[in-house]
Symmetry: C2
């Protein structure tokens, strides 16, 4: 049928949006290039420290939720404990992450950034924030609001599929 490659989005009020496969394809490509640009600066910084993206992710989420446990991190990152542990071990050895035995439950390890770890985190996130600010500034405030809305929808769809159990991860 002629309508097979057209997505019809009814607008609230009077607006009406047609999304052809080609328009969606451009969005898909934009995601690819945008994400690459988005990780380019941190990747470059991490290289100087001998780390990779996996280290960045761990550092990011430990910073966001200080005292989080290993299993928490595992469910957020969606990798195996062997994979995460390899990364975490080097970060602890290098004095970027502190690993405290839980008080309530002594099996758990609560993770914190050391001052040294916090410094790297700031360096990494600042690069990403700058990159994002540049794009925001060029796009304008209204576009930014829409961007965040769509991204949050994509995120929610993803979270719903993967974390049916945990409510503690991302607000």
């Amino acid at each position: 049928m002629a309508d097979r490659n057209v997505a019809n989005l009814m607008g609230r009020g009077e607006s009406l949006l047609f999304l052809t496969d080609d328009q969606l394809r451009r969005g898909i490509e934009a995601m690819f290039f945008a994400y690459r640009g988005f990780t380019a600066d941190p990747d470059r910084i991490l290289q100087d420290y001998g780390y990779g993206r996996a280290h960045h992710r761990a550092i990011h989420f430990i910073n966001r939720t200080p005292g989080t446990t290993v299993s928490n991190l595992l469910s957020i990152l969606g990798v195996t404990k062997q994979s995460l542990n390899r990364v975490l071990r080097t970060l602890v050895e290098d004095g970027l992450v502190d690993n405290r035995v839980g008080t309530r439950d002594k099996r758990e390890r609560h993770l914190f950034l050391t001052p040294k770890g916090a410094t790297l985190e700031r360096e990494l996130s600042e690069a990403q924030r700058n990159r994002m600010r540049d794009a925001y500034r060029a796009a304008g405030p209204e576009a930014v609001a829409g961007f965040r809305t769509v991204l949050e929808q994509m995120m929610n769809l993803e979270m719903r599929r993967h974390y049916m159990d945990d409510g503690e991860s991302v607000k």
Copy 2:
């Protein structure tokens, strides 16, 4: 000092947007989760064929620009020829990609999807388009327009840096 972590974006007309580091951080996280969700469906499909994301990217861009050369693909994907060749070789061997010697310049190889390759491409891109449509539908048309604007800005910023002779182009 209180303004150091606040980005002030002047709106056209009356709107005014303040972006705190925390708000930017949420955007950064949303990118991470959104991109993961974005690649989840294709990754699952590719696994059945014994392929990975690298194969997907090659298939995508060959489909977008049929007859593109290897060096073209190299500059778009930003990987080494050894890395790309490994992927391309398996795709040609498996009969998904056709590799034709150039007529004008016989050194060049022009890449095309075979019908079999086109079938996989459709399966992959359809999954991604569906995912994107879901998010678009939930967010609404106005948000979609903004989303695309910001993403295109991020993409342009990246393309500009990428094709600037690959130095220490960050400022």
